[in-house]
């Protein structure tokens, strides 16, 4: 399971690093032009850490490693937010040995709650939550409707994309973009975008695993 989880996390890291410029340019419009730099620095460090992890490290251990690394390397608000998300995910993953649909829902729920606890934001404040939460809800719905893991993830991706679009229509009331007041209108949130990218990477990863299986 360790190499599987490492590969999943690497897929996430690669996707973020590939989109460094996009994320930074989105942040340039309504923030301090560093979200891509922050996230890429964080996930480069994560990649190094998880590749070097002992082969017996379990899912929870790898998620914790990811969280700790993001906390100490990202630098922006997204560091403690995603860092806390992965730490909570690690706690929820404790004892879990496979990443099936139910396990993923539980882990995701914990991660989402971590972001809310840390950032004290809720949906509609133009943050990563506007992608992350509807995506999570869509995932749970799809799972209930007996869709497969990959199908459920695909539905969640769609919801995250819509969440990104939604962030264009609202004013930021949390984070740096809130300094802009009404001027944040019309721009998509960088954090919502990075959340979508991570999810899209995971979806593709599970999709490819299925094909390979």
């Amino acid at each position: 399971m360790s190499s599987f989880t490492v590969a999943a996390l690497e897929a996430v890291a690669d996707r973020i690093i590939q989109h460094k410029e996009l994320l930074t340019s989105l942040d340039a419009a309504i923030g301090d032009a560093d979200h891509g730099i922050n996230m890429a620095r964080g996930f480069e460090a994560v990649r190094v850490k998880i590749r070097a992890a002992a082969p017996e490290t379990d899912i929870s251990g790898l998620l914790k490693m990811t969280g700790m690394t993001l906390i100490s390397t990202v630098g922006g608000a997204s560091g403690p937010l995603y860092g806390t998300a992965f730490m909570r995910a690690a706690a929820a993953a404790q004892g879990k040995e496979t990443l099936d649909q139910e396990a993923i829902a539980q882990i995701w729920s914990a991660a989402l709650q971590g972001i809310k606890d840390r950032g004290k934001a809720s949906r509609g404040e133009k943050t990563m939550l506007d992608a992350m939460e509807p995506a999570y809800e869509a995932f749970v719905e799809a799972a209930k409707a007996e869709k497969s893991l990959v199908e459920s993830l695909e539905v969640a991706c769609e919801a995250a994309k819509e969440g990104i679009e939604f962030t264009k229509t609202i004013i930021a009331t949390k984070g740096r973009a809130s300094y802009l007041g009404e001027r944040s209108l019309g721009h998509q949130d960088p954090g919502a975008t990075s959340s979508y990218l991570m999810l899209a990477a995971l979806t593709e990863f599970f999709h490819n695993q299925q094909l390979g299986a």
Partner: protein
Amino acid sequence: MVGIVIVSHSAKVAEGIRELAQQMAKPEQKIIAAGGMADGSIGTDAMRVSEAIEEAMTEAGVVVMVDLGSAVLSTDTALEILDESLRARVRIADAPILEGTIGAVVEASVGSSLEQVLATAEGAREMRKCL
């Protein structure tokens, strides 16, 4: 004496404020700068913050000064990493970082309590510079 930690996205800012505050401080007072990332870039690092809190810790506790909202996120995260026994003696000041730090350091220098130092830091908001 209450210890003070200065958390800024900029190492220069944190260190510069520490130097200014040190001028008004007792020599034995603990004022720790936790600015920027380990690699020198702009940002806050919860690990550095938690180390700084440990370094600044005294019987009387620690007040943490922050520059921007995301420094609060890092400091909250730092508190989660910290020992629970220490955590109870830490307060984050919702105060202007430079003005609040000077006020907090002066207040702490006379042996005031954690809550008094916090109140003085936060009171710096009302400080008038132009007369």
